[in-house]
Symmetry: C2
Subunit: 414 residues, 2 copies
């Protein structure tokens, strides 16, 4: 038995206890939140080791910022854990129920998934977030974070484990893989028989690698090639405001947009207004020929790959289209199925867009940036699913559960 | 582009139309049911080719029976399609909805999965069942049945396609792969980018092969190593009746039991009563040492593999256990997570069994044979999921759907 299989076995044993742990889970989460704050000095010292190593290896500033913890960030990590503790316990909810003609009482009840694997990259706060959400839903978790954050992750996981054990729950409810080689990641993807699901959280490369290589069922998250379509009847100011917000409020996140499609009958009015807003943040524009005819040579000619790229940066692709149908066809071809928006005053087009676009979240007259567990009323989220099985869109604590049927009888046979 | 990719492309195009086909789907299903009956002669002729070939190749009688169609069986196939047509359309149901403080109206609505692949074995009625269920949920389907039934499946699929086209829906809503080599099966498991999910339906070998080899997300179905635990307070007559029903009413199905666990304090009374019933059907018994001490040498000594084997036959394994805890531990180790039952008069043990057994369906004082879409109020079923992601237990038309969030705004930005 490998070390990882041994971890799997311990996780399964912990999961069996967590499945009926009830309110103890919340006590453990509150203790964990307090422990994170109490031991902030230890976490910061570990984090300094990570950031020193990262700086020495020449990590770029935006990545370094994601890796860096502060007192304030640790406090907000602890607050996040407290918020999860305050949510309702999903386990044991009766989702449906009926009594058959023969007297059998059949109920469908919510139960934990069991053991969840998480593979993620540089942000150490994911360690606390993911562990807390998994625990709340009664699952054991095996965490495999990025090598850049290994000292921070180890410190955080150790503190969480102690706190959980202090409240009488198994410390192996939360386990962290210390080996951050590619091999450990592959081994986790092959831990069938122990893991019920594997959730990758990070960039497109990580997600693709996990989806392609995992033998454990995967929930694909977070790749967002999102669009705003400016219909011919759009309010131009609203369109410019939504595009500016969806592109520039936080370009590095998956619900930011990458391409706008503009109806040809409004392009001459809308494009200059959009450009004027985007110029405030020096957004680079890459456009089709018709876009360049309107906006001029400041727009870089778009090439085919621009329609599929997730820039995650101050770059926006622009295409002028002939009709709603053309916009729908473009989105059907290039969308990653995350978040898509139309800006329109036309009722029929709004309803067609909502009905026909195949994505986790489809908007009329609002920014795609709202695709988020908190905004959608799910509480904290573990990621945003872009697949259709099991969960689609922001995944909160309910999406980390399964169901079972329980049947109470009086001797019925069939 | 391979022929299968071409099928995938046609399926995706069909799925886009089916997604908003509404009541046309029911018209198509009713037309399909009528066409099956009208062209029964054509189906029977094709089926005769299959059964002749099967008889020539020495197929065993129970398999041959599954393969054989009759007028009556075609009628019941058509009736099954009509029942699916009569069910409520799941698509467009609003599952949740709220309005945010900023006025955003957020709804979670039911949508089709998209394109479903089905891999199945010898029973040709699965062709009609699966096609009808997928269509009802607004999905296109690519069917890959067993080679034994290829002529029957081809005839049925052709009739369904024509009927669907006659009602103005794409004939490519239903496609059948005519190549029944292992290669075509592997190719289907690699059809990522076209298939949203692959559902294998058949024996343990088929399921395992698909789960291990598929790159498309799989819903694992139907392997059932199911148990009845006879607690020390059980009503012995009830226990014997439930065991007899769960073992012998249809031994070849996945919700039949394979092993019984009997509390040591009731074994001397219960085992002879159970044996007396099972003797009516000449059920072969394989027991532990304590079982043999009570029932004698007519019980074959059980070996380790008996605890994990799915006999699907008139064979039952028996183990005497010391306690509910031992029964729970045995089930946790050997159960395939399908259906598990306790027979008890003890309230606390009943509730513990329901809470702690990790299976799709957990019973008190009833036969495991009730695990079925119809019995659970889901209507027709496409299979019984034994995994925890997406769907668990009998899968009806709702389990062939996904959801999306639709958001109506008035210019909100974040």
């Amino acid at each position: 038995m490998t070390e990882l299989e041994h971890m799997g076995q311990k996780a399964k044993a912990a999961a069996r206890i967590l499945a009926s742990a009830g309110a103890k889970k919340d006590a453990a989460l509150l203790a964990a939140a307090a422990a994170l704050e109490k031991h902030a000095g230890k976490i910061l010292a570990a984090n300094r080791e990570d950031t020193d190593a990262a700086r020495a290896s020449g990590m770029r500033p935006s990545m370094l910022d994601r890796l860096t913890l502060t007192e304030a960030r640790i406090h907000s990590m602890a607050e996040g854990v407290r918020q999860i503790a305050a949510q309702a316990d999903p386990i044991g909810s009766v989702l449906e129920g009926h009594t058959n003609a023969n007297g059998l009482k059949i109920e469908k009840v919510r139960v934990p998934l069991g053991v969840i694997g998480m593979i993620y990259e540089a942000r150490p706060n994911v360690t606390a977030d993911a562990a807390a959400l998994c625990l709340k839903a009664g699952n054991a978790v095996i965490l495999r974070g990025g090598k850049e954050a290994i000292q921070s992750n180890t410190a955080i996981a150790e503190i969480l484990r102690e706190a959980v054990a202090g409240e009488g729950l198994p410390e192996d409810s939360i386990q962290l893989i210390r080996d951050t080689t590619r091999e450990s990641s592959i081994a986790l993807m092959n831990l069938t028989g122990y893991l019920d699901v594997l959730i990758p959280r990070g960039g497109a490369g990580l997600i693709r690698s996990v989806v392609e290589n995992s033998h454990v069922p995967v929930i694909e998250t977070g790749v967002g090639n999102c669009h705003v379509f400016v219909d011919e009847t759009a309010d131009v100011d609203m369109a410019a405001s939504i595009i500016f917000n969806a592109k520039t409020s936080r370009p590095s996140v998956c619900n930011a947009i990458e391409t706008i499609l503009v109806h040809k009958n409004i392009a001459a009015r809308a494009l200059p207004a959009v450009k004027a807003k985007l110029d405030e943040k020096n957004v680079e524009l890459r456009g089709c020929e018709r876009t360049r005819e309107i906006l001029g040579d400041c727009v870089i000619p778009a090439v085919e790959s621009d329609w599929s790229e997730e820039y995650l940066d101050y770059i926006l692709a622009i295409k002028v289209v002939d009709s709603l149908d053309d916009a729908l066809a473009h989105i059907a071809q290039y969308s990653s199925g995350h978040s898509e928006a139309i800006v329109t005053e036309n009722y029929r087009n709004a309803e067609r867009f909502l009905a026909e676009v195949d994505a986790a979240a489809v908007y009329v007259n609002a920014s795609t940036r709202f695709t988020d567990g908190g905004e959608f009323g799910l509480g904290a989220e573990i990621g945003i699913s872009t697949q259709k099985l099991h969960a689609r869109g922001p995944m909160g604590v309910n999406e980390l559960t399964s169901t079972k049927f329980i049947i109470r009888g009086g001797g019925q046979i069939r």
